[in-house]
Amino acid sequence: MSEKKSSAPDIGLIGVMRWAWRQLTSMRTALILLMLLGVAAIPGSLFPQRNQNPQRVDSYFTSDPTLAKWMDRLHLFNVYASPWFSAIYLLLFISLIGCVLPRTFHHLAAIGKQPPLTPRNLDRMEGYRLVAANSEVAIEVASKWLKRHRFRVRVTENSISAEKGYGRETGNLLFHLSLILILVGVALGSLFGMKGEAILNVGDRFINTPTSYDNINYGKFQGQGSLVPFSLTVTNFVATYDPSTSQPRNYVLTTQIANPIGTTPKLVVIKVNKPWTAGSTKLYLQANGYSPIVTVRDKTGHITFQGPVIFLPQDANLSSLGAIKIPDMTPQIGFIASFIPTAGSSAARGIFSTYPEVLDPRLVLSAWQGNLGLDTGNPQSVYSLNTSKMAKIGLKALTLGGTYDFGVGTITFDGWKAWVNVQIVDDPGKLYALYGAIFAILGLLISLFTRQRRIWVKVGNDVEIAGLAKNGIPGLEEELLALAQALEENKGGSE
């Protein structure tokens, strides 16, 4: 690129930066950025977001791959972590700091200072009036009256300048500074926090290390070594349901937690709105379901698989779907299965679940034979079977204890266990955000319910009074009238 000399006077890099800074921190820019942030949030509510609803994102990719690819390039499936959303957010943050900090210093400096001097011409101000008062004592009477009404009063030789409602600016600044605190809290959480999930069967022991999780996300600056060193054993899980509507009533998870590992475990009860807390780390009960327990034997009676298999709930009555994979048989065997906690049946729907609790369970199996495709290197979902290289060899519904002979072996439905999904979150910025929120509301209340106004009294040939209310807040007129009355009656503060 060639050097180009602009014809405008050269203000230099510092000049340009100063100009840019002034633009960025202007009120108008802040407002535009604020509106922009609101508008930028909209697409995230219209399109599925990858971290909330990955299945629906996938369906965009299968139905129209080109469109989906372009949408993905524009970060429409991940709006709130996208560069453009972050850019608006950061600029607003800077703009807010740039405009609120100077105002704060200015305001602090003004504390204890006297109200500004009385303007020369009062007759242009609001509520201007001449008062028939004794000009000898007018200043004294007015200043008493104003002080009694908690104005800050500045008395000069022949005039008074009084002001009330400084709290408005204080509250306003408190509010804006609190917004900065909230933004800091949010940033801390996303940079230094972590969030992970694990599915545990009743009886399982969980050790808080990264490999124990089904999925785990770290903030950009959060190391792996910083997990709270606890271990947790799921001792019991009870779900109660409303018999008439099947709606859940209550979930109670009972655990033994040793924190740190090796100490005597303590009994901890976790409910949906009652997480377990260790420092800034919290453990939540998120979801639950069933794991049927099966035993698979080959022709010789040798056990090739035994244990609980986690199934995913499909509806409110917890019909659950899963896959049982037996790679150790030749050829390999797989089952696509559904677990029905309380079976009902109809001609139209076949077997389905009528109640979320396990009262009359069924395990419906479709058996497949062939290659499970586990050695392709591509990670495979444990909840579904890749049947592209397999052939279906049979279908059977088992009651508890029942056995299905699928030709090259047998599978027995031995029982079931409940599983729970726990979510472990560490958000060190949470408290800052909370404090920010509390102070923001406080500041708003102070600023929106404080009326800021000035009143002037001037004594010359006549006694003149006038005032000015910020934002045209009503009530000044009455106040001036009361002052005028006090002056006319020469009463002031004395009774």
Binding site: N273, L448, P474
Partner: protein, 298 residues
């Protein structure tokens, strides 16, 4: 009374409210339409609201009565389910209608805004009507995720804010209507009792300045509740996103007024826009949205 009886009683009271608000609606329409005087020389219709002041007073009395019975309906609904009466869309609607009526009555006694009676009774009728026909759910206890004191606080704050937002929107719409009349040919007689443009402008501003902190609080209470239930205080699910958008829109409105000095028409349109984002959230996201907030079976 048993829970079931209480629920039936509550439903009955809702039907009674429908009847009462219908009377209020007719009283207010009568107040406006029967105040028409003879068409005079200039061809413009003349109104004399003094002629029908009694109908207006009946309307107000009916709205007051409706408010009381609606409060009872709401209370018994809550008692029948052993919890606060805002656990699903049906209950949001009846509690919302209660808050709207309450906000109107407050504004009526404070600012004498009887002219709002007609739009308020229409809004309440529509809300209750759709609630009992389309959105109705049998009374039942809460699913575990909703069992939190923060739910009560959060939703109550949101519903009150919503009521006041709606009133502010009605005021702003009235402002725009009156402004058009005054610009063209002067206010028609039937609108003679409606406050001046300036008071309307001030009224909508003061309503919003009054509820903005409450709405801020509602959003924050929601975040606290989300933190205790889901482990994240903010997850940008559609409901949260639109609550945030509403918040931003009202903050922009306050800024535009306080710092840039917007008044009148522009402020009224901005107010209506902000209120629409709230309505959009309430209607669209509740019914068609997907996300964490759609657990209530409507």
């Amino acid at each position: 009374m048993t829970s079931t009886n209480l629920a039936y009683f509550s439903n009955g009271a809702i039907y009674a409210c429908l009847a009462i608000f219908t009377i209020a609606f007719f009283a207010h329409t009568y107040e406006v339409s029967w105040s028409v005087k003879n068409v005079e020389g200039d061809g413009r219709t003349q109104f004399d609201l003094n002629k029908t002041a009694r109908a207006g007073r009946i309307g107000t009395a009916m709205i007051l009565l409706g408010f009381l019975i609606l409060a009872i309906a709401d209370l018994t609904r809550g008692l029948s389910a052993h919890r606060v009466p805002w656990g699903n869309m049906y209950e949001f609607s009846i509690t919302g209608a209660l808050m709207l009526t309450g906000a109107y009555l407050f504004a009526y006694f404070k600012f004498k805004v009887r002219w709002l009676g007609l739009p308020v009774s229409i809004s309440v009728l529509l809300t209750l009507g759709t609630a009992i026909t389309v959105l109705y759910r049998a009374s039942a206890p809460l699913v575990p995720a909703l069992k939190s004191p923060w739910l009560a606080i959060h939703v109550l704050a949101a519903i009150i804010s919503g009521g006041v937002f709606l009133i502010a929107n009605l005021v702003a719409a009235t402002y725009l209507l009156m402004e058009r009349y005054e610009k063209r040919s002067g206010r028609p007689q039937w609108a003679a009792k409606i406050p001046s443009l300036e008071s309307l402008d001030q009224l909508s501003y003061r309503l919003i300045a009054f509820v903005f902190p409450l709405w801020t609080f509602a959003v924050i209470a929601g975040a606290i509740w989300a933190e205790s239930a889901w482990g994240k205080y903010w997850s940008w699910d559609p409901k949260e996103t639109w609550a945030f958008i509403t918040w931003v829109a009202y903050a922009a409105y306050l800024h535009a007024r306080v710092t840039v000095g917007w008044r009148g028409k522009r402020a009224a349109w901005l107010c209506i826009f902000a209120g629409s984002t709230f309505l959009f959230n309430y209607i669209w996201v509740n019914i068609w949205g997907t996300g964490l907030h759609t657990y209530s079976g409507l």
